[in-house]
């Protein structure tokens, strides 16, 4: 990669002054040079841009994550504190906030934790017995480690009647929220791919929520969900829930945020899956219908295998964006009641606003770690296997 950069730089002086007097030969040489380096020229703009704009900030914020930053006369003062920012989140005074409150494990907690540990151990054992490679083993080790940590975290918090922290909330948004969005998006795309009238109208209509800025969506749903002056206030009164308010109940608040999030993101899943469904050659489906297969069978045996690869890409994109959820909880509840709806991104944002840049970066890196491990594991262990089978 870098050797290429050098070659590009070396190439330039030759084309400059020499070709100046002879425009024709200059452009000809230029073209020749471009053709010769086309393979590099195609990828270099992207590599260079990402290097400048992504790697630099990434490295800079990594340094911030390991330090304390304070204002000092005329600028910042950076003081390295090692892993202090991270350990504060995982073991220290912010533990309840990031991971959750740990007291004693309930019986259910033990059951869940042990069951998860057992199955992860068995899964590792099976892998080692059946096939083995160093890289694969290390990868699975990381997956297993994160899986175990998450399993015990939920065992000690959610399954033991304690509250979980921003990590748990984020995972809830991602798995429940994105899962729900996927199912509904898939269903809608399948319905719209049927021979129906007004398909284009539905397509544009269903796509609209995607076009609204997430901040706007947050405010719209806050307006809609208002139990005193929102449009559903009379409905709440009528079903006798006038005094119940979603904003004061942790689970209701989380679910409302997922509703808003789904409203915005289902269109994304829908539009791409619809295109995938439409790309299935008609004769495949019709052949199935001729054979007397039911709708469900056609979906399962013919459509789904064709759509699956697209679905995986869509879901990966959605999950990556889903881990970063911040605007909706920020605007709808500010993370409340308590810390019940606070996602990791919001946690990081709050730290950032109070000028605690080190904590903020540390949380964002923890989020990066969890996201990468979960997405990569999902892709390598589930998707690749599936694709190999089918």
């Amino acid at each position: 990669m870098t050797s290429t950069t050098r070659r590009v730089e070396n190439g330039q002086p030759g084309t400059g002054p020499a070709g100046h007097d002879h425009p024709l030969s200059r452009s000809a040489r230029m073209n020749e040079w471009i053709d010769g380096h086309a393979r590099q020229l195609f990828i270099m703009p992207a590599v260079i841009m990402i290097l400048i704009f992504s790697i630099f900030p990434l490295v800079a914020s990594l340094i911030i994550a390991f330090s304390r930053i304070r204002l000092k006369a005329g600028g910042y003062q950076v003081r390295f504190v090692g892993f202090q920012n991270f350990s504060k989140q995982i073991f220290g005074s912010e533990q309840f906030h990031f991971l959750g409150t740990f007291t004693t494990l309930s019986i259910l907690g033990w059951v869940v934790g042990l069951a998860a540990s057992g199955s992860i151990a068995w899964w590792m054992y099976r892998y080692v017995r059946q096939q083995f490679s160093i890289v694969g083993f290390i990868g699975r080790l990381i997956t297993a480690f994160v899986g175990l940590a998450l399993a015990w975290m939920f065992a000690a918090t959610f399954f033991s009647g304690n509250q979980f922290g921003t990590l748990g909330v984020t995972l809830f948004y991602v798995f429940v929220g994105c899962g729900l969005q996927f199912l509904i998006g898939l269903g809608l795309a399948f319905l719209c791919s049927q021979p129906i009238r007004g398909r284009n109208a539905f397509r544009v209509m269903f796509f609209i929520p995607m076009m609204i800025t997430p901040i706007g969506v947050g405010y719209i749903f806050r307006m809609l969900a208002d139990t005193t002056k929102g449009p559903f206030a009379p409905v709440w009164q009528w079903v006798g829930l006038g005094d119940f308010t979603w904003a004061t109940d942790p689970w209701a608040a989380r679910i409302f945020i997922i509703v808003g999030d789904s409203w915005q993101w289902i269109p994304f899943i829908f539009i791409i899956l619809l295109a995938a469904f439409e790309n299935i050659p008609r004769d495949y489906v019709e052949a199935g219908e001729v054979d007397g297969a039911s709708n469900w069978q056609i979906f399962k045996e013919i459509s789904w295998p064709q759509v699956m690869p697209v679905a995986v890409t869509v879901m990966l994109i959605r999950v990556i964006e889903g881990f970063k959820i911040v605007d909706l909880p920020n605007i709808m509840t500010s993370g409340g009641p308590g810390i019940a709806t606070e996602s990791m991104s919001l946690h990081s944002l709050f730290a950032w606003r109070s000028l605690d840049l080190g904590q903020s970066a540390a949380i964002a890196y923890l989020l990066l770690f969890v996201t990468v491990v979960i997405c990569v594991s999902f892709f390598n262990l589930v998707v690749v296997n599936r694709m190999r089978q089918s």
Binding site: M1, T2, I34, D35, R39, I43, A46, I50, I52, F53, S54, I55, L58, V59, A60, S61, I64, V78, C192, I196, N200, F202, R203, V204, M205, F206, F207, I208, M210, M211, T213, P214, I215, Y219, I220, G230, P231, F232, A275, A276, N279, R282, E286, E289, V290, V307, P309, V310, T313, I317, I320, F323, D327, M344, L349, S360, A364, L368, T371, V372
Partner: protein, 355 residues
């Protein structure tokens, strides 16, 4: 299309749900499908409707409890529209103009650069050396530490670092080689999308500050381009991998260069993918908030900042004005979606389907 065999006698229930002819729907299925679609339409449209009528409400109409129907429940008022487009038209239109310029330019750049890279990754084999890359990152950390902790001038450090890097590369990289593959490059590029924007905001800000580009369109355009490159590369890589190579190969046999092949053969084949990717990236640029907030002060402010600004803090939220801003924000995207929809309906990610 085949007719049903004559001897087949369906029950009533079957007649409801079995299609009368292939490629058509039975009455029952039709009812179910349309019902579900209409329910979903209501779910999608009601918030939009509420947004729309709120933009015509006064403070009293909003705070006094839910009013649903204009002219019947409440008298629509144009005050919010008046305020934004007559009184404060300068701010509103400037933000609107900024949003359009920035989104279009960033989308164009991202799609161009991204699809070139995606095509190269799908067709050319690269083998970068991991050792070189690690060296590069280590040098960079050194540079940042020098600037951050010791306050050395950035251009001086950069110059020294470049020299040191090339020296080390000569000395070390040629001897130790851990070769990476296209998949690794792809993963690296895609993974850039994962980090939450909060952490990169300050470094990016400082970067643009050092070249005096803050509060300009260029700064935001470049940032959006990079932020969205991973998505373009990902989607277009899937797409290009699925296009049969035969056409390109025959073009190359005819003496076409890589650039010509890309321009004349590959791009026309990928219109569907390009359209879908463009739309998606456009929407992501159009809606982005945090980065725009930091990279702009006044001149380059975009529409999402205007939306956020309608929360007047201790004076409550100006629901009516906010609704107006959101509504005018939707319009260009709907327009774009309608233009691009011709291509999209031909298939997004056609590639992945076949691959």
């Amino acid at each position: 299309m085949t007719d049903i065999p004559k001897h087949y006698q369906p029950t009533f229930f079957q007649r409801l749900f079995e299609p009368p002819t292939i490629g058509k729907m039975a009455v029952g299925t039709k009812v179910v499908v349309y019902t579900l679609l209409l329910i979903w339409s209501a779910f999608v449209l009601f918030p939009i409707y509420w947004l729309f009528i709120t933009s015509f409400k006064t403070a009293a109409d909003v705070n006094g409890g839910p009013y649903y129907l204009p002219f019947i429940d409440f008298m629509p008022s144009l005050h919010a529209w008046h305020e934004l487009f007559i009184i404060d038209y300068e701010d509103t239109l400037r933000a609107y103009f900024n949003s359009i310029v920035i989104s279009l330019a960033a989308t164009g750049l991202a799609v161009l650069i991204g699809s070139m890279a995606a095509y190269a990754l799908a067709r050319v084999k690269y083998q970068p050396n991991l050792v070189t890359i690690l060296l590069f990152i280590l040098t960079m950390i050194g540079v940042l530490v020098a600037i951050g902790s010791y306050g050395v001038d950035w251009w001086l450090v950069t110059a020294v670092a470049v020299a040191v890097f090339f020296f080390l590369m000569k000395a070390i990289s040629s001897r130790y080689q851990i070769l990476l593959h296209n998949g690794d490059i792809l993963f690296w590029m895609i993974s850039q999308r994962i980090l939450a924007p909060i952490v990169v905001v300050v470094p990016i800000y400082m970067m643009f500050q050092s070249v005096r580009l803050l509060d300009t369109h260029i700064a935001i355009i470049l940032t959006y381009t990079v932020v969205n490159l991973p998505i373009v590369i990902w989607l277009m890589y899937d797409f290009f991998s699925s296009i049969p190579k035969d056409l390109e190969e025959s073009a190359q046999l005819d003496g076409a260069t890589m650039i010509m092949t890309f321009r004349e053969v590959v791009l026309p084949l990928s219109r569907a993918g390009l359209a879908a990717t463009t739309l998606l990236v456009m929407i992501l640029c159009w809606n982005e908030y945090l980065l725009a907030l930091f990279l702009s002060t006044a001149k380059a402010q975009t529409m999402p900042i205007l939306v956020a600004a309608m929360n007047a803090g201790e004076r409550g939220i100006l629901w009516w004005s906010m609704s107006v801003v959101i509504i005018v924000m939707i319009i260009p995207v709907v327009f774009l979606a309608m233009v691009l929809q011709r291509y999209i309906s031909k298939g997004v990610l056609l590639g992945a389907v076949k691959g």
